[in-house]
Symmetry: C2
């Protein structure tokens, strides 16, 4: 399993971030998935700037097969798009082609256009097409429509947030499917299908389908209030994070074992 | 002194060349200027693919300051240009910005647009603007208008050509300012100003201005025939190459000392 940490993409697209800052994002990401239990024998972290020696020759081959029209059609680039962004897709494709094996790429649907382009190119450079799995998109705290984005602090729970910060963010920002007053909520009931706290329980934090069903029904009937639903989520998140953050600390000594080595 | 050997530019622009083949061009180039006497203490060879670890973070910064419109205006790129070519200018700029010192770049005028762009970018990334010296363009064997290009074999003397090949190329391809028959040449005289053999003597091979003047006058008056002029050049080139090729052989053991090391 390769994890490509794109410490330069943000660098291209956010003029206010230094390479060091985006490098830190990559490092923090790495700690997270080491903490989640990936094994160093099977997992290699590719960091664009660190592994550019490996990626660049592949990207150079890929780049020859993509023209500006392709990137316009795929990403909506314009004449004002910077040339780093334009080139970037060839770098992002490179990990698919390090080995001659077919690869499987789990991705959010927003990344799909990119890898469709990669699939088109694969046969042109004599490599198997990567297969794609579309992962579910996690909604941002602020509700339906947006995805969780690391650059929107108030819309995102970070894996490094303290229990208090988590509590504050959920209570203040988590989009609610509840009614504006307790009375109305009891009468009409909430809408769990658009309630972000419920969605987080469904996607991540409540493993037990029966319990999830009870929460869904109680919320919908008005028996469970928004504040109570949020309290359930806050407790679940903080329980997860307290263990996760411990593992993250330990991961700091492990990270070298995970780094991809240029040949 | 940095020499940037762009083993990937050809790779981007020539679909029929492998990275290995363009790498060989870079290696052969390096042997040439080591043979010409550059000293390893003062000279570092930067090879794009080998030193990408150093160049890429700089190129990423540069790339953010150049958009597709800039490259269109500068290089005449179109929607069909591949994204490697589009990105390429930021890589070619990178050696100017490895250190914080002002740099001086000797270049053929055809490379001028590129470095004008580099000069525009320098202050935007907090670096001094590179200064440029325009070197004379060496005409191709086939005559005025073209420059010598490594990819046109019959228009180019390679530093690895044997004496016989040099003789054949000059006699067969070197554009002549002479007349179509000896009689006419004696009567009208030749035109040294467009004669490639004369130009090579002027630019490279005849250091003595008085001798050069005599050749010029004799050719112009018709006293010196085209074949005779070519013979002078052939002898000069082959004398130079026999020494140069010996030095190139010795350079093979030296090349490691010249390679730029990534930090």
């Amino acid at each position: 399993m390769y994890f490509q940490l794109t410490d330069d993409e943000k660098f291209y697209s956010k003029p206010d971030l230094t390479l060091e800052e985006t490098g830190n994002f990559a490092y923090e990401n790495a700690l997270d998935f080491i903490a989640l239990g990936f094994k160093p024998e099977k997992t290699k972290i590719i960091i664009n700037t660190k592994n550019i020696q490996t990626l660049y020759p592949i990207a150079a081959k890929v780049a020859k097969k993509i023209n500006f029209s392709n990137t316009k059609a795929t990403f909506g680039f314009t004449n004002e798009t910077n040339i780093g962004m334009i080139f970037y897709t060839s770098l992002q494709s490179a990990p698919c082609f390090i080995e001659d094996k077919p690869v499987l790429i789990p991705l959010g649907v927003d990344q799909d256009p990119h890898f469709r382009l990669t699939r088109d190119i694969a046969p042109k450079i004599g490599k198997p097409k990567p297969a794609l799995i579309h992962n579910i998109m996690i909604p941002g705290l602020k509700g339906p429509g947006g995805k969780m984005s690391a650059s929107d602090e108030s819309g995102t729970i970070y894996t490094t947030d303290t229990p208090n910060v988590v509590k504050k963010k959920i209570n203040k920002y988590a989009f609610s499917g509840g009614q504006t007053s307790v009375e109305e909520h009891r009468r009409i009931g909430g809408n769990p299908d658009i309630d972000v706290s419920y969605q987080y329980l469904r996607i991540f934090f409540e493993q037990d389908d029966n319990k999830l069903k009870t929460i869904y029904d109680d919320y919908k009937s008005g028996k469970l209030l928004s504040g109570e639903l949020k309290a359930i989520l806050i407790e679940k998140i903080n329980k997860f994070l307290s263990i996760h953050q411990e593992k993250r600390e330990k991961a700091k000594d492990q990270i070298d074992k995970f780094l991809f080595e240029n040949k």
